[in-house]
Symmetry: C2
Subunit: 414 residues, 2 copies
């Protein structure tokens, strides 16, 4: 069959889908209703018959305890493998904690260094593709963002080591496990190279967003990530990293608890400044999480249930991609996290636009790059979690159709 | 009796109290256990059998809705008398919202103006005595804080009007109703003068902390505060004020919801920036508050119960002050709020220290002034809410004893 004829055939198929007036969304890494329902028993652990007192005797309903209740520090600490005294518990959003960390560094500086706002034009390293909301923060604060290509083992460390020699480079974004969007987990070697970094700037910080630490898709095929705080300590570099996490995709995305983990000196620095910002975060919700999950085993049991819901969705998307576009596209097969990262041949924008016109919303092309600028116009982030399996199947078929159409059109020079 | 003899007698009494090894706290405006218990039924309104969907159909458990759910905006809007579309709902702390507003103004500027961080040395007006945590924020951001004396009607507006002619004056702290610590409610005249202010700085903002809007002590003797947003609008000055409130002393101090109210233009400016900071605040807790309180009537009913617990405490403190120190001290008789503001004759520090040595903790003397510097060493903030009535009686007796001792000592030149 001629390419032209092929294209006409595909466009006919596309029009048939279009006539269905679909409204499907694969744009954001949102848990689906069935996942949210898993945590509904958490709504029962606190009721008017429960004494809302935490283990140190504090009434969780009242003011107090700036850094979070001990039992919640232990729970979150266990999730990200750090001691509870190196943890601060915040509100419902780890993104907000990252923003606040950046804002504080801007207005008041990192551990006694001059405020970033007074240091002139600054730079930030951005492994790509990456998380759009990270890049939005560094763009908002006026950093020049520098792309660092991802390898199958993590960011290109040769480049990172080169750039940190520049004292105006103040940090790097990392999603080290089941990365957003590539689903890559940094290798031991990469983590060790991070831990040994010797940046010219004393106030350089690795923003280590461990968003998917326990978010495995397979019980028997899990990625393993070296614990960075410990590696940094061993490397004589304890203060170089802020580690972030939250229960957003463990309990409820809007109503979980977020945490920051860091060295003793960083924790002290941050807590001393936090006291001006607030009297404390929501301890009742912290207690609710502790009573519901109890411990790391409880969290793992919950994550197995999440995986049972998510796994068929990921596998179906991968199967359809395999069936439909394996000769004209590439994608990762993540063992956890929330995304499948699809690479097409320079037609990402066109594919996303074509999907949109057919009622399928995807993350905007380019969103996974600083300044929304994907130099190869190649990467499309697929978020399979939210739609039902039926919707997801339709949406993936349409996506594949769009990839085929746009790739063919490009070949035909249209 | 000789003064010397009097003093010896008082010191004997004091030593008798000291021997009791008391541990009493009148330092912070914290609700007591009985007040917190009033909101325990709020823990029952959400359980695993409830559909956590808000009225626009959004699943409150998931990501989304940056500015808060509509029904919660209406509830908080009714509490502070502004339309729901002029409200943003945040997390658990209005102090945090004030800090964030200041931080945002610092790093990115107010409604298109140059960031405050780039405007050199700036000033902030501080009605005194006032709230220590307010002053901590402006001190942290490096403002020169200017004392504005309080009058029985509110801040000295002649001074305010004079100072705002200085373009480096960027704002003023106000607790306009049942003020902290004086319990003063600003008169209509004062509110109207605020609304008509014509500051030289376009980015001047009134930080109107309406923390005690419905926190009356008496059903039949309530203060009335003119609604400032509306007055500003009428005065052709709609953007000059940020209004803050929270349910901290309505439901649970650690686990309530906070809000900011402002003009359309301010709300738009703030929301556009907030989107970088977070995906949204805890909507499940917002829904919990709405289902528990239902509406303003529900809030008022709750506040009457709070008043029934607080009123006897305030009245007892006032009665003992009247019995013991009426000739050597002054104090306000607030109709609401959380504090009694005591003025002694230049011995505030000494009184607070003497109380401390006897196991009675008070807010540090000076805390109600910027830089902890009470020029008259006169003001002591009494917070009667937290201790039991028995503890409070003892603590107030000791406080009076300390006032008498230190006043006498001063007279004796010791």
């Amino acid at each position: 069959m001629e390419k032209r004829e092929q294209l006409n055939q595909l466009l006919k198929e596309y029009d048939a889908y279009k006539a269905l007036n679909l409204k499907l969304n694969m744009a954001r890494g949102k848990p689906c209703k069935e996942q949210l329902d898993l945590s509904m028993p958490m709504m029962d652990v606190l009721h008017s018959g429960v004494n809302l007192v935490c283990e140190d005797g504090t009434d969780c309903r009242n003011y107090g305890i700036l850094g979070g209740i001990d039992e919640c520090k232990r729970l979150l600490g266990d999730i990200i493998e750090v001691p509870s005294y190196n943890i601060i518990i915040f509100g419902n959003s780890s993104l907000n904690v990252m923003y606040d960390s950046m804002a504080r560094s801007f207005t008041h500086g990192v551990m006694g260094c001059e405020p970033l706002s007074k240091q002139g034009k600054l730079k930030w390293l951005c492994p790509v593709p990456g998380y759009d909301r990270h890049f939005a923060i560094t763009e908002y604060f006026g950093f020049e963002m520098i792309n660092i290509p991802m390898t199958p083992e993590g960011p290109d460390m040769d480049l990172v080591e080169k750039y940190v020699k520049d004292p105006t480079v103040k940090g790097i974004w990392c999603v080290p496990k089941y990365s957003n969007p590539d689903g890559i987990t940094y290798s031991n070697k990469v983590v060790k190279r991070f831990a040994k970094l010797k940046p010219a700037a004393k106030d350089f910080r690795i923003y280590w967003d461990n968003a998917y630490s326990v978010h495995h898709l397979y019980e028997d095929k899990q990625d393993f990530l070296l614990e960075i705080l410990d590696e940094c300590k061993k490397a004589g570099n304890p203060d170089i990293v802020y580690k972030f996490t939250s229960t957003s995709k463990i309990s409820f995305p809007g109503s979980g608890v977020a945490a920051l983990a860091a060295s003793d000196a960083n924790i002290k620095d941050i807590q001393s400044q936090m006291g001006v910002q607030t009297i404390g975060y929501d301890k009742v919700n912290q207690l609710r999480h502790v009573l519901f999950f109890k411990n790391l085993e409880g969290v793992k049991a919950q994550m197995r249930k999440h995986a049972d819901i998510l796994r068929p969705k990921f596998e179906m998307v991968e199967r359809i991609l395999e069936e439909e576009v394996k000769d004209i596209a590439k994608w990762n097969k993540p063992r956890g996290g929330y995304f499948i990262s699809l690479y097409v041949q320079g037609v990402a924008k066109e594919v996303v636009q074509r999907c949109k016109e057919c009622g399928v919303e995807l993350t905007p092309a380019g969103a996974t790059y600083p300044y929304h600028n994907d130099p190869n116009n190649a990467n499309i982030r697929i978020a399979p979690s939210f739609p039902s399996i039926e919707e997801l199947e339709k949406a993936t078929r349409i996506l594949c159709l769009a990839v085929k159409i746009e790739t063919l059109k490009k070949e035909l020079g249209e």
